[in-house]
Amino acid sequence: MSASENARPRVGLFVTCLVDLFRPSVGFATLSLLEKAGCEVVVPEAQTCCGQPTFNSGDFKDSRDIAANVIEAFEGFDYVVAPSGSCAGMIREHYPELFEDDPAMAMRAQHLAKRTYELTSFLVDIMGVESTGAAFDGTVTYHDSCSGLRELEIKTQPRKLLAAVDGTSIKEMPGAEICCGFGGTFCVKYPEISDKMVTQKAAEIVESGADYLLAGDLGCLLNMGGKLKRLGARTEIRHVAEVLAGMTDQPSIGEGER
């Protein structure tokens, strides 16, 4: 269904557990971007988490229960949008897989999967947004989060929207597509390896000379941001939705009140 067929698509906002807990401003930025793009946005209260922590830890039973809750909470929308490639990827790619042996649930999972999108790809690919009309002064470098990049092929969409932000220029870093070392529970199960990965990432971010690090996934941003702050780097860290929505009043990630 394209946007033109339905003037005001009804969108369920999947906030994601990390945005809900750590950075509600990303949720409000997403809400604002979706509304500006002409969507009617609803936030189902019964949502919690997409189930990725249990799924990637091999606990498929609990993952199915959590997924069933999400499927239930997000039934009946034209689209479901999340400010995260990783959570959207979980719903799109892995929910149908989780219910392979349960045809009735599999059908519902596929139904949800087909209409679930990551924010920037939804704005560009579905709503045809060319510019979000925001202004933001600064040079930014963009980290391609793994799930968004490889499961959902999100690469050009955030850059296209950022290029249209007044005052923003992009300075690419060399390893933008290389994992930052977050990996969900990986970063606490293998902290030394994760550290090696995020240290190299932090160095490349700083070398890029950009004032801001942006990405579309809060997990990666908390990891890279946490490392940059630990190293005393001056780079500021924000979710791409904040910049695209022009909602950058909150201190950046890992910074306190100004």
């Binding site: 949720g27 409000f28 936030v43 091999g58 290389i178 990986f186 946490g226 201190p251 890992g254």
Partner: protein, 478 residues
């Protein structure tokens, strides 16, 4: 081969503080990765070839018995023999018997991962036969008495100075004033040492990249030509190969060959691609008097029909490890057995068990780069996840992780309770962050804060603020 996979965490720590190793690993990005990208970019049909390669191997795996028997009958028709071996012990004994049959003192060896897997060199030495590795990288690590750390660049962890040191120590006839500064000097020295050994060897052992069912041929690819000398000059040529190396036809082998070198080294083709069609015939000018294929199962047939069957499509190109950020951080030895990187993280637990190798499928961020570059489209992260699931259902996940997951899913399944607890969490963590907005030390999350700060939450949850803003009163609460 002795395994230290259970010790992965400590192995990784040691690797991360090994300055020389880290220097060697830092060359992966400009090296293998860039070269593969360039080679793939030049071949528009590369993605189609990947589909074909996958389909060929899937077809073989569905009809493995048929193709293996066809292969055997064609090897016999060519004058060779196939030895079916269920496990390492049978394979080692079979090879030893072949060596005895020609009264072998020394054997030369081309590069073979399955020979590493069955611990062939140690066995031959124990039984009085001297194995000589003839691939330069393998030769270096044999001198250094260590296992390979990569499947196509076995000595990738070694620098030039260490090679010179090994040569000076083991090549006792080498005059101390003979220069070994340039890479050319080093390869010349290796060639000088190896040349007479090729001629003296009684048996030549190689691996196989493919076994071709319709012709009974075995195929190897090398860049040094050492495989050809190995297999041509001995009295017997022994091919050690695991049973999934089979392809139906020459055309199928050609298709996968087009994928192999590009994925591995970024070459269009390896320097040597050698097809072996049995022992020397009357009209041949040279060649071995006998030709043996030692066909090894060693746990592979048990993977058929399981979640791990796709792993048997692997052609050992190493693209997955060349692009793996975890491999790039810790190198191959940390994985503790023969096969490192993402392919090892699936194959190792399949062959030696999850109790020994449980860390390997866990030590991945699931970044997906391995699957993205795998020429055979093997869903490596998915299979690693299946191993995590196997650990979980068999109660082998650590109690700490289990407790954490249990707590998380308890709340995640109860939205009301979840909202109350996240409200509390947001307040507490925000307070801990103080004015700096980040937490430097959090006792229950030391895995996080030992290496990086934890950015503090803003103080209230989205759900809370959304409700307060009046948004949530339009009947969307469920």
């Amino acid at each position: 081969m002795q395994t230290t996979s259970h010790n992965f965490k400590q192995n990784a720590r040691d690797a991360l503080t090994d300055v020389q190793l880290q220097k060697a690993l830092s060359k992966m990005r400009p090296g293998f990765q860039q070269k593969r990208a360039d080679a793939v970019a030049k071949l528009p049909e590369f993605e189609d070839l990947r589909d074909r390669g996958r389909d060929i191997k899937n077809h073989v795996l569905e009809n493995l018995d048929f193709y293996l028997e066809r292969f055997e009958s064609n090897v016999i028709a060519n004058g060779g023999q196939v030895h079916w071996c269920r496990n390492s012990e049978e394979a080692r004994q079979t090879i030893m018997e072949i060596c005895r049959s020609v009264d072998a003192k020394t054997v030369t060896k081309g590069k073979s991962m399955v020979a590493e897997e069955i611990g062939l060199n140690e066995y031959l030495e124990e039984h009085g036969v001297e194995p000589i590795e003839t691939d330069l990288g393998e030769y270096i690590i044999q001198l250094r008495d260590e296992p390979p750390s990569h499947i196509i660049a076995p000595a990738i962890h070694v620098n030039k100075e260490q090679v010179v040191e090994a040569f000076r120590k083991k090549h006792t006839d080498l005059p101390p004033d003979r220069p070994l500064e340039e890479v050319g000097d080093i390869t010349d020295e290796a060639r000088t040492q190896l040349r007479p050994k090729f001629f003296a060897a009684d048996v030549g052992i190689t691996g196989a990249n493919f076994l071709i069912a319709e012709t009974g041929q075995t195929v190897i690819v090398t860049n040094e030509g050492n495989g050809d000398l190995t297999q041509t000059l001995g009295k017997a040529h022994v091919v050690v190969a695991s049973l999934e190396k089979i392809v139906p036809t020459l055309e199928d082998a050609s298709c996968i060959l087009r994928l192999l070198a590009r994925s591995a080294t970024g070459q269009e083709f390896s320097v040597y691609t050698t097809f072996s069609s049995g022992p020397r015939r009357e009209t041949d000018l040279d060649g071995p008097a006998s030709f043996h294929v030692v066909l090894i199962d060693n746990g592979r047939s048990a993977m058929l029909g399981t979640e791990y069957q796709d792993m048997l499509r692997c052609i050992r190109c190493s693209a997955c490890m060349n692009h793996c950020p975890v491999y790039a951080a810790v190198g191959g030895h940390a994985y503790g057995w023969v096969y490192p990187g993402p392919m090892g993280a699936v194959l190792t637990p399949s062959l030696i068990g999850i109790d020994e190798a449980g860390h390997l499928p866990n030590a991945s961020t699931f970044c997906g780069r391995c699957e993205q570059v795998c020429p055979m489209r093997i869903p490596l992260p998915k299979m690693m996840r299946h191993y995590r699931a196997k650990e979980f259902t068999e109660n082998k996940t650590t109690s700490q992780v289990r407790a954490g997951l249990g707590l998380w899913s308890y709340f995640a399944k109860r939205p009301w309770l979840y909202r109350q607890s996240t409200k509390l969490g947001a307040v507490l963590l925000h307070a801990l962050g103080g004015k700096r907005g980040r937490i430097a030390k959090l006792p229950l999350a030391s895995g996080w804060t030992s290496v990086r700060d934890m950015p503090a939450p803003e103080g209230r949850t989205f759900q809370q603020l959304y409700k307060m803003s009046g948004h949530g009163k339009k009947g969307d609460a469920r």
